[in-house]
Amino acid sequence: MIAVQDVEKRFTLHTQGGAVLQVMAGASLSVAPGECVALIGASGAGKSTLMRMIWGNYRTDGGLIRVGDVHVSGAEPRAIIALRRATLGYVSQFLRVVPRVPTLEVVAEPLLALGIYEAEARERAAEILTRVNIPERLWSLSPTTFSGGEQQRVNIARGFVHHWPALLLDEPTASLDGSNRAVVLSLIAEAKARGAAILGIFHDESARAQVCDREVDVTSFAVAP
């Protein structure tokens, strides 16, 4: 479902005299439907960079990235937009939303973008918010005012409200307490059971042991400075 072949990444810093930083070369991995793969490696080794390239957020400077039948590397913007809408989900560590939009709408938005009716989208958003223990009295408020853990759970709710066939998870259990962590791990397990291909970064080792089938160490893809 997700295939990365011989991928390269470099950054050219024009504001710093045109310095070229080659950060990655020869990155290859694949994730099959129903499988959860963990990216491991020290901080700065390139885990997030690789995730961002698969998401289409960073350009790929060499090699191929494929998600489903879309070649992400070199795709037209509209192909990536369509891919993100229906096929590829992403739970980032940061919540980026229009200020003052109620939490319920933030979570329902991916469904509305898919053309699902508002009533159904809101109902499903309410279900998943209940599941991640965001109390109903907060649903009408903007998540920008929430605590870190609450924002993280709104992100999770948004990332699991639609059953994306491929999912990227960046530290989904960070800043969560024990019971919420368990909820997230069961959401991941359910996604796997329905055939989602999941690639994630988990610093939480026991979480990784519980849901991941394999690990890929990105250290071998890093280019020594």
Binding site: T12, G56, V98, R100
Partner: protein, 258 residues
């Protein structure tokens, strides 16, 4: 995915004497897409918007629009009445200053109703009902329908201008700094409103702004202009997070973080 772009811009150029307004601008806009155009003052983004929307006549290039009535047509080759009809039906233009897009001496309901009458609506009751409905959609109370825009706040005027423009169900909206000159709190509400309308009506939009935060939240795609030319274009978050061109890198690194 649709096979025909809604708008194809091919080699648009416009000079003011020896000075370049914009040059060699080409892109496709697909149905349902929101495209942002950013660049500093004088980069040619407003000239480009004017050329696309038919307010200015470009020196070179073609603007092909997939019209509801006749399919793809070169807008620049249309007669003036045809282009005016297009501007009232398939197109809409939201000005930065609501005073440029509203009739300040006409009531709020009249401002919205006038657009309907321009495309042939004649039944007073229906026009008023539709105007009331649209005021509601842009969050203006129905009891303000007979007030004139000059009695409204800047944010309300901007929302009224949006209602006036969208009441005829356009497919493409041009916006010139739609949130410029508004308080940040009012901006956020307007952004949310625009996003909802774009999604519900399946609108495509071309938005000119210098505010990178606005394009990040509103635009699917981004075009970066400098000295009248496109220096970089792509998916909005990719252009902002992994900018390739020296000018885009400078632009992104110059934004103050809050």
């Amino acid at each position: 995915m649709s096979a025909t772009p809604l708008l194809t811009v091919d080699g648009i150029g416009k000079s003011y004497g020896a000075r370049i307004g914009c040059a060699d601008v080409s892109f496709d806009l697909w149905p349902g897409e929101v495209m942002g155009i950013v660049g500093e003052s004088g980069s040619g983004k407003s000239t480009l918007l004017g050329c696309l929307a038919g307010h200015l006549t470009p020196d070179t290039g073609h603007v092909i629009f997939d019209t509801t009535a006749d399919g793809p047509r070169d807008v620049l080759a249309m007669s003036e009445p045809e282009r005016r009809m297009l501007a009232r039906t398939d197109w809409a233009f939201v000005h930065q200053n609501p005073r440029d897009g509203l009739r300040m001496g006409v009531s709020a309901g009249g401002n919205v109703g006038e657009r309907l009458m321009a495309v042939g609506a004649r039944h007073y009751g229906q026009i008023r009902d539709q105007a009331t409905e649209w005021l509601g959609r842009v969050e203006i109370n129905a009891d303000r329908i007979d007030d004139k825009p000059r009695q409204f706040s800047g944010g309300m005027q901007q929302r009224l201008q949006i209602a006036r423009n969208l009441v005829t169900g356009p497919r493409l909206v041009f916006m010139d700094e739609p949130t410029g000159g508004l308080d940040v709190s009012v901006q956020a509400r307007l952004l949310d409103l625009l996003r909802g309308l774009v999604r519900r009506m399946g609108l495509s939009a071309v938005i000119v702004t210098h505010d990178l935060a606005v394009v990040r939240l509103l635009a699917d795609r981004l075009v970066v202009m400098k000295d009248g030319r496109i220096v970089e274009q792509g998916l909005t978050d990719q252009v902002l997070d992994d900018p390739q061109h020296p000018y885009t890198q400078l632009l992104v690194s110059s934004v103050l973080q809050v």
